[in-house]
């Protein structure tokens, strides 16, 4: 009982250290490397942090039913993201849309 408590407690602190390190990387990376990939790098780091939180702090590790449900809903979000991104990357109405040129 006490042993499992200690193991779990140490686990929480290990994840904390991982998240803190990734936060430091989030914060310092754009100052060190100025790049057009800053946005992608930031989102990648955020995804790794999210994975750590989901697996360990939200106890999804070993959860089959709930794990698949979460993955499925994230895939739906990703699916709509992809469709909209394809659309907006081929935006054809720059001159007439109020989203791009409200004063025209």
């Amino acid at each position: 009982m006490v042993t499992s408590y200690l193991i779990e407690k140490v686990g929480y602190y290990k994840v904390l250290i991982g998240l803190l390190l990734l936060t430091v990387v989030t914060f310092s990376l754009p100052e060190v490397v100025v790049s057009k990939y800053t946005f992608s790098a930031q989102m990648f780091i955020a995804t790794v942090k999210a994975w750590l939180i989901l697996m360990y702090y939200m106890h999804l590790k070993g959860e089959k039913t709930i794990g698949w449900s979460v993955l499925f809903s994230l895939l739906i979000v990703a699916f709509f993201f992809s469709i909209v991104m394809i659309d907006v990357n081929n935006f054809q109405y720059t001159d007439v849309s109020h989203i791009t040129s409200p004063t025209k």
Binding site: T26, A46, Y57, M58, S69, V77, V84
Partner: protein, 244 residues
Amino acid sequence: MAHDSHDAHDSHVYVPEIAVDREGKEHVVQGWQGDYEGGKLGFWLFMLTEVMMFGAMFLALTYYYTLHQQDFLIASASLNRWLGGFNTVVLLFSALTMGLGLLKMRHGDVKGAKLMIWTTILLALVFLGVKAVEWTAEYHHGIFLGLDALQSGNEHSKPFGQILFFGMYFTMTGLHGFHIIIGIGLMLWLLKRINAQKVTPDHNILHFNIALYWDLVHLIWVFVFPYFYMIGAGDIAGGVVHGH
């Protein structure tokens, strides 16, 4: 049938309803009060609706970002990322204290669990305080919902892409802040339930679910922070002075 004889110590223990059939035989009615897995699954379904809601907001944000990249980078660079970064660390530690509280509760240390919940509430208030300082500074710089800088068509108007950025910034950080306030309310309610011994080491699904909620609030910030504060960091926007 009420069971008033049960005192507060075991009032959360389910006492089954009895149904009587035509022959007068008694049958125990299936109850779900102790259904830990069901409680957990139900709460996850609620959280998935939260993911969909914030997912849609991130989708709108990404749509605008794709159309107005330079404006977004300039607007992002003007935010105070030290305050945003500080709040990121505050939320990170609050996720730890909430998790440790649940761990203590599950292992019978109720007093320790309550201390951890109070610590989490304190950290949540610090987060809100920093956010208030940040928004106040932005307001004094003329940047707030409804002010001229964020309305198109007047002499103080910011470029349209920046108006969209700040509109999304106040909406999303505001909605996130609202979730923090709800979280504080839930934690206070949880403390009340613990004091009433409705939440105990053997009956902790409410504690588990509120800890899950708090992790979700943290998880959303993990994406909100880089998206608003960090994409314009460094010199990527072309030498913009940082911080309001």
